[in-house]
């Protein structure tokens, strides 16, 4: 299947990107050393260290950090309140949950079933919460019913642009637990508990839980 091949290719690409970034991390740490050296160099105005700078210029006045045009965004002076930026990229592995996300790219919704006690999970887990035994992957039906719902007009900052959106917990026949997803294609006031819904999948997977969503059945 083309979709399958593509997703594999992307995973492969991502994997090698991961390796590259480790290489970069190595480069960065040596860059860190370089930049410390640079500070020393700039501070000494062409010399190789503060000692030399002192010798060149004479006296402690020669010791000087470089001035830059970077400043701080200040909100208040008493007390001093300023902006402090922070961001980070995580290297996140779905680990034992990975087949679920691979399944979404193949238009499959995978839950899990306990081989020992038969408990069936709509949201997969690789070990049974009831008895501790390993579970097996279990393809859920595409059709379910709304167990409960809400329409969010606000959200966490990362999701504010997507508001309003409707969240549903979906129940499936023969399945013991529920599945959290988004519902589209129905006005907020028309959503009802018990409403039959059908799973739909993004054509181009993002390997996120939002690759699957639900629409009213029929």
């Amino acid at each position: 299947m083309a979709g399958r091949d593509k997703s594999r290719a992307e995973v492969g690409a991502e994997g090698s990107a991961g390796r590259m970034s480790r290489a970069e991390a190595g480069a960065k740490s040596s860059a860190g050393r370089t930049s410390r050296a640079e500070v020393g160099a700039r501070g000494s105005t062409g010399g190789v260290g503060p000692g030399r700078a002192g010798a060149d210029k004479g006296g402690a006045a020669g010791h000087k950090l470089p001035e830059t045009l970077e400043g701080s965004i200040l909100y208040n002076l008493d007390p001093i309140i300023l902006k402090w930026h922070w961001e980070v990229d995580y290297v996140h592995s779905y680990a034992q949950d990975s087949p679920f996300f691979a399944g979404l790219s193949q238009q499959k919704l995978l839950g899990s079933r306990c081989a020992a006690c038969g408990y069936v999970y709509a949201t997969p887990r690789s070990h049974c919460m009831e008895c501790g035994a390993p579970t097996a992957w279990y393809e859920l039906p595409r059709e379910g019913r709304i167990h409960t719902f809400t329409t969010c007009y606000y959200g966490g900052e990362a999701f504010l642009e997507e508001t309003p959106f409707t969240l549903v917990l979906v129940e499936f026949d023969g399945v013991d637990t529920l599945f959290l997803s988004r519902l589209v294609g129905v006005e907020a006031e028309e959503v009802r508990i018990g409403m039959p819904v059908t799973a739909r999948f993004l054509r181009n997977s993002k390997f996120r839980a939002t690759d699957v969503y639900f629409v009213p059945a029929g």
């Binding site: 329409t151 969010c152 999701f159 917990l169 599945f179």
Partner: protein
């Protein structure tokens, strides 16, 4: 088998202090807020000196909000408690409640004779919506955060199911909001006291159906402190120590979707026949809250909480949570939380709510104003409940609040309840006037 704590030493709370809970305290960092709460508590037991304190238990919920790892030790050193033992306690919204129970254990075990429990949160350091995103990281980041990413959305789904199962209404929820905001008019520590009507609550901005802005607590900066001690220290330094007679903690799966649909965990005054056909807890009830109550009641020897508890400070992060929680605590049966909470039983007898209340006040719930009106600086919240409960049981509410209105008459036994993310960790602690 139920553990009763029969082999532990008696443990008392001897003093408490809090900062005012506020949207922001830019003039105090977390260390100074904790110091303020600590100093207030120390001033209440003037013969207790710092050298009599054996260690501390520190709590804050979020490293993201704090942007400071190991903030616990920074509070501990700021209070002058180094090199004595200390540890940080964290468990989402229940962080404060877990902290108090940890301090209890330090003393009950004999490891310490006096332990200070201090907690704080500094939530003003990011925008409200970034804050909501941080809080939502306390949901499964593979399956839940990318889809919902919003705690109010999670609780909205839970109460929607509660409404479906039991017929709970948004007007009943609004009455909880009116009660708690009105109580807080008499509490100077509260962040958001207000006189409200049902219409005010329902016409406030919708956040996640059916929860409006006035169904939800705010984010806050604040700190709280409780000083916990064994019998000898308590008797020596405190005129009115309050004994911790029961602690209970319950848990449930992080993902709401994973909650089972089985049988109700029964309290001593309930029977299986009360719940024929009810699938429990589902997403409509908090099994962790019920488990915590069951354990705490067993330890404190409470057979019927409806008759044996004088007031409750519970975790009303949402109006709906109060309705769900009074059921978990057995103040009414599962399914009766809506009418029970709206009817008057949980209101204060001497506060004007502007409501017709058919039922006489019986067990005031959140006389302080709760999280809805006091605010919710997460790591401090469970301790804040302990501070207000201590003052109720000491009969010193008027002294500390500068207003006698919220003093529950003849309060002998109080219950405090702290709750984390969609009911994952819940603590119940029983406090008694000896």
């Amino acid at each position: 088998m139920t553990k009763t704590g029969a082999f532990s030493r008696p443990v008392y709370i001897i003093a408490g202090g809090i900062t005012k809970f506020a949207k922001a305290h830019p003039g105090m960092d977390f260390r100074l807020m904790c110091k303020e709460a600590f100093d207030y508590a120390m001033a209440d037991v003037p013969t207790l000196t710092v050298d009599m304190i054996d260690g501390s238990s520190l709590s804050y919920f979020s490293d993201h909000f704090t942007r400071q790892l190991m903030a616990g030790i920074m509070v501990h050193d700021y209070l002058g408690l180094c090199p004595k033992p200390s540890r940080r306690i964290e468990g989402g919204g229940a962080t404060g409640g877990l902290n108090l129970q940890n301090a209890y254990q330090e003393v009950a075990s004999g490891r310490m004779d006096c332990c200070v429990a201090v907690g704080f949160e500094t939530m003003s350091r990011v925008s409200t919506w970034k804050g909501n995103e941080f809080i939502a990281l306390a949901s499964d980041t593979n399956f839940d955060f990318p889809v919902g990413g919003f705690y109010t959305g999670y609780y909205a789904m839970m109460v929607r199911r509660h409404m479906h199962e039991f017929g709970t209404t948004v007007e009943q929820m609004a009455r909880v909001s009116i009660k708690n905001h009105a109580n807080a008019l008499h509490n100077p520590y509260a962040q958001f006291p207000a006189r409200l009507t049902v219409d005010d609550v329902r016409s406030a901005e919708m956040v996640a159906t059916p929860l409006t802005m006035l169904d939800i607590c705010t984010m806050s900066d604040g700190a709280a402190c409780l000083i916990v001690a064994g019998e000898e220290v308590a008797e020596r330094v405190c005129d009115h120590p309050v004994r911790i007679t029961g602690i209970g903690t319950g848990t449930d799966a992080m993902r709401m979707a994973d909650r089972p649909h089985g049988d109700v965990i029964l309290l001593p005054h309930e029977s299986a026949a009360d719940y024929a056909g009810l699938r429990y807890p589902g997403v409509h009830s908090f099994r962790a809250g019920r488990m915590a109550a069951k354990l705490a009641y067993a330890m404190a020897g409470i057979g019927d909480p409806r008759e044996e508890i004088d007031f409750v400070e519970l975790h009303d992060a949402y109006t709906s949570s109060e309705i769900q929680t009074v059921e978990d605590l057995g103040l009414c049966l599962y399914g009766e939380g809506g009418p029970y909470s709206a009817g008057g039983a949980t209101f204060m007898p001497n506060v004007d709510y502007g409501l017709e209340l058919p039922v006489t006040p019986r067990v005031p719930v959140n006389p302080s104003g709760g999280l809805l009106a006091c605010g919710h600086p997460v790591g401090a919240t469970g301790l804040m409940q302990g501070v207000f409960a201590l003052w109720q049981l000491q009969g010193t509410t008027a002294k500390h609040l500068g207003d006698p209105t919220l003093q529950v008459r003849n309060a002998r036994r109080g219950l405090i309840h702290s709750h984390a993310g969609t009911g994952t960790y819940v603590t119940v602690t029983i406090l008694e006037r000896p």
